[in-house]
Amino acid sequence: MDIKAIREMFPILNQEVNGNPLVYLDSSATSQKPLPVIEAVDEYYRMDNSNVHRGVHTLGTRATDKYEGAREKVRAFINAESTAQVIFTRGTTTSINYVAYGYARQKLQPGDEIVITPMEHHSNIIPWQQAAAATGATLKYIPLQDDGTITLEDVRNTVTENTKIVAITHVSNVLGTINPIKEIADITHDNGGIIVVDGAQSVPHMKVDVVELDCDFYAFSGHKMGAPTGIGVLYGKKELLEETEPVEFGGEMIDFVNLYDSTWKELPWKFEGGTPIIAGAIGLGAAVDFLSDIGMNNIYEHDKRLANYAMEKLNTIENISIYGPNERGALVTFNLDDVHPHDTATVLDSEGIAVRAGHHCAQPLMKWLNVAATARASFYLYNSVEDIDALVDGLLKTKEYFGNVFE
């Protein structure tokens, strides 16, 4: 991969922040957007803007073709069998909520179990807490190992014949843990349950094949993979999506509307009530093309190299705690001993380095780690080893700075 050429596709990176070249290490929160995405959205608004699936005029047809064309691009990208299984949503959170409301709440009964893990993002915890409370189902957790991984033995011990739903992240947004989804899906299916996967941190960074993984629902966001904010995807197996009730009712999702009842459109449109996120979907289609041209395997290898390099370099810093397993996705979460992560992030920002500090929408996991907050550096295809060197320099300066003021 030619990082220099790739960086030129991301105009935002070419700027100074607080007098230093921007070093953007917060892609797990949201990625930067490449020119083809920015231009696709720009062109849509300049040339084609119109509502979709209605009217007969030319712009309407163009907008519809682009919107549905984006759906086909996403379908191919995750290897779904049909575009009927690719539902455009607002993002991962909305996608998971659609499953929790439209599927889980119809199906669950007292005595049924929902199984999740302590490493989940709040968006894959709270919808299940709510579904459990509404149906009388029980919420159970697969325990974590000391290194922040889960074992298949623990999965087998936690998932029972009463388990109707296993909801799990593919890649942890804090620990970087990569979960063995295919194996967990097999155990879930052997017990008669379904698996819902949070793919927010995986789809941007690795080749995801929903058929090969045999997952029942798979949720991800566009904005972490170069697309605009406000667009995401829910993939589902067809028979399950047929059984899932729409969550939003109104225009665009109906077949016939009578005075007292109505019928829904077929998949995927029964889930897309109201004017859809047209420009967002078109931007996502452009992002998929952009990533596919570079190659998801190349991106995976690149991100992995950066994560390994970061682990190696950060480990040379004295009095640093690094959280999560050695084998990890494209991020490193850490704390400098005696310096609060907000303070670390402020000093790094003064050097032009953007990292995340806080609880990363994973309060149960913070409790498990026994910390109130952490700092996180996350990487993407436009990051280089020089960015990580800058981070290490920044952290050494942070230590020095706080060492001095503490004198």
Binding site: H340, H342, S350, H359
Partner: protein, 144 residues
């Protein structure tokens, strides 16, 4: 901005309060207790106020957070102790104005709190500084 500019944020007196917090702990006897957190970042404070005849006679805090939130809590407890409720609330207003970067009445004696003036230049950190003050406002209003 260089590291030197950070000195406007991390003043010596702030780091002193962070390292040696005043009034950390639990109030003896009856007290109003307020738990407050900053949900976006995880900073958390439990503030206890003992109010008698409209005067804050004791204030103590526990919690965890960054240097700005914890030093601000330390300074706030120091500042409101012995003040009547109205003066404490007025001080909180002044503090808010300070965070917004407004010009302050030069006659005001802010004591150590003045050191936090630099926070107004770091918008992402203002919420850290105001957490303890918000807890205090809630506490004295509950007491009222």
């Amino acid at each position: 901005m260089s590291l030197n500019n950070l000195d406007t944020l991390y003043r010596q007196v702030i780091m002193d309060h962070y390292k040696n917090p005043r009034n950390r702990g639990i109030v003896d006897g009856d007290a109003v207790s307020v738990d407050m957190n900053n949900p976006t970042c995880g900073d958390r404070i439990r503030l206890q106020l003992k109010v008698e005849d409209g005067t804050v006679i004791d204030a103590k805090f526990e919690g965890e957070g960054c240097s700005i939130s914890m030093s601000s809590a330390s300074m706030m407890t120091q500042a409101v102790k012995g003040k009547n409720i109205n003066d404490a609330l007025k001080m909180s207003e002044v503090f808010s104005d300070m965070m917004l970067g407004k010009d302050l009445d030069s006659d005001l004696d802010l004591g150590d709190i003045e050191a936090l003036q630099g926070v107004s230049k770091f918008p992402a950190r203002i919420k850290c500084a105001t957490l303890a003050w918000k807890a205090m406002e809630k506490g004295v209003k509950e007491e009222d």
